[in-house]
Symmetry: C2
Subunit: 320 residues, 2 copies
């Protein structure tokens, strides 16, 4: 067991493409301190991963460090092989890898998940999922989860296992269309103030597109402006509604969700509220997200892997 | 009637967002000479529209000039109001506008079409459509036309009238995804040599996506590379197949086309061949495009508007 200051027990890193969040966790998994940096794996400081780690952990006790997210991808610090579905907490915790920093700090790395049926993958979301299941145990038996974002993940859970998931590139698609097509014409680079009516119109256009799908309505974001029935400044919200609406329409058409089962949102609160607003246009229920699912997931995985003093099997090995 | 060199009768300009094509047409509408410039309305030379016109017409006789395309849009030389559906040749020819250049040359401008039901619009394609109907009169009674491109147009013709159309932003969507998302990771800026197998796999993925639609499969263009079952260099063709396939899947789902009626392609030959290849994966028939539909359309509209000596009503007025 490493020497820790009183109560600090594990350091969790949520290290993605565009940001790094470090959590100092106590012996019950509560967040004692949170540090955020803009150092995603594509925008590291001079000195790379080592320098970023030294900075973000400066002054913190020498607890075990566990990192999830793109830091364990091919373009990250060290690639950790995916765990295939169906995947439960113990399988993920048993497949950690690690890398030793230049300063001699060992960083344990959480594997992502792979859906071999569709060749789909995730990295980082698995940690939020296991965090959410711990925070809301009622979800473990059978639930549908949605983690919206750059790459939204639609997840099916049965008996505590992730049994299926699919990625929708909604956030990235939005950014590409918003900034690099005719839909950006006449718009400032920064998004204007939110326009709820335009958002709802976009959602409804997607919903009403039926089996044809909302890609066939994409040009309406331009044509309605030319027709004078949509303000140019409302295009970003209309487009956002159209794409989020398409995500919901498609998930319903695919049978991934149904109207009887509420969907549990996980992730950024503001973005989740957007999805919940879109869901209401479909008369679909969506539960707002639990807080700090990533930190709780890091704690759950660290505990199951034997990195904490209360772990079921203390200090189990991790393969390099 | 202006003074023309022997046989030259009308100058047609196909003036779009990224290019300018000028046709010198004889008294039967044949192309005597063609000049191409990169001067679309977004990338004019110093001196703007006037300088571009003077250059492209240099040395040509003083025939009437008729221009179609984005030159008549809000961001063009002068905005020409749209003609609403259903639109026949005479309605378009009767709604020309004009602008006089600094050098005193009158340029007649073809209006675009507007679908008031969906607020959809086109500019330039109407001219290609009327050209195709003249080149292949069998299409006039009842046909489905597809003009693929940056903004693909799906068009329904009845009794020589355009009665319906819809825009799919396929080409622009492809470019935005190809160059501004994770799908571009590891790819050179220039497209690699064409990969027909990858293209077909993309088309099939879209076809098999059913009512869920191919946006739900977009991430497969990345995931299949990570899984080692798609070459990184094959991503552009896979993506192209996925998006063109989605256009076809969506048009079938919307009832815009059916398997019994062959679809007439109009436009760039290489791009039309791609669409025809995609259509074969759906067991759909597509007729390859007639040549020079834009030039023929300019001739048909110019003739109907009285700009040529053989016009039904010679030298009819055009509103400014």
């Amino acid at each position: 067991m490493n020497v820790c200051l009183p109560r600090a027990e594990l350091i969790g890193l949520d290290w993605g493409t565009t940001s790094l969040r470090a959590y100092l966790l106590d012996e019950s998994g509560r967040v004692l301190e949170l540090r955020s940096r803009d150092w995603g794996i594509r925008q590291l400081p001079a000195g790379g991963f080592d320098a970023a780690l030294d900075d973000v952990l400066a002054g913190w006790p020498a607890c075990p460090v566990l990192a999830s997210g793109m830091v364990g991808s091919r373009g990250g610090w060290r690639e950790v092989p995916y765990v295939d579905l169906p995947a439960h907490l113990a399988a993920v915790a048993g497949a950690l890898s690690f890398v030793d920093s230049a300063a001699g700090r060992r960083v344990h790395l959480v594997p992502g998940l792979r859906n071999t049926v569709t060749a789909d993958v995730m990295r980082g979301e698995e940690t939020e999922i296991f965090g959410a299941l711990a925070l809301q145990p009622v979800l473990a038996a059978s639930s549908a989860l949605l983690l919206p974002g750059t790459h939204s993940k639609w997840v099916t859970v049965r008996d505590g296992c992730v049994v299926d998931f699919a990625t929708a590139m909604t956030g990235e698609l939005y950014a590409a269309l918003r900034h690099h097509t005719i839909l950006a014409a006449g718009l400032p680079g920064e998004d204007p103030p939110s326009d709820q009516d335009a958002f709802r119109r976009g959602v409804q256009a997607a919903r009403d597109s039926g089996a044809a799908g909302a890609l066939s309505r994409l040009f309406s974001a331009r044509a309605l402006v030319l027709a004078g029935t949509l303000e140019a400044l409302a295009v970003p919200d209309y487009l956002s509604g159209l794409l989020i609406g398409e995500e919901l329409r498609s998930a319903l058409a695919a049978g991934r969700i149904d109207r009887a089962t509420p969907l549990q949102l996980i992730g950024n609160a503001a973005l989740c509220r957007r999805y919940a607003a879109a869901a209401s246009c479909f008369e679909l229920g969506m539960a707002l997200p639990p807080q700090a699912a990533a930190a709780r997931g890091l704690w759950q995985i660290g505990r199951a892997a034997g990195l904490t003093s209360l772990s079921p099997h203390h200090a189990a090995g991790a393969r390099p």
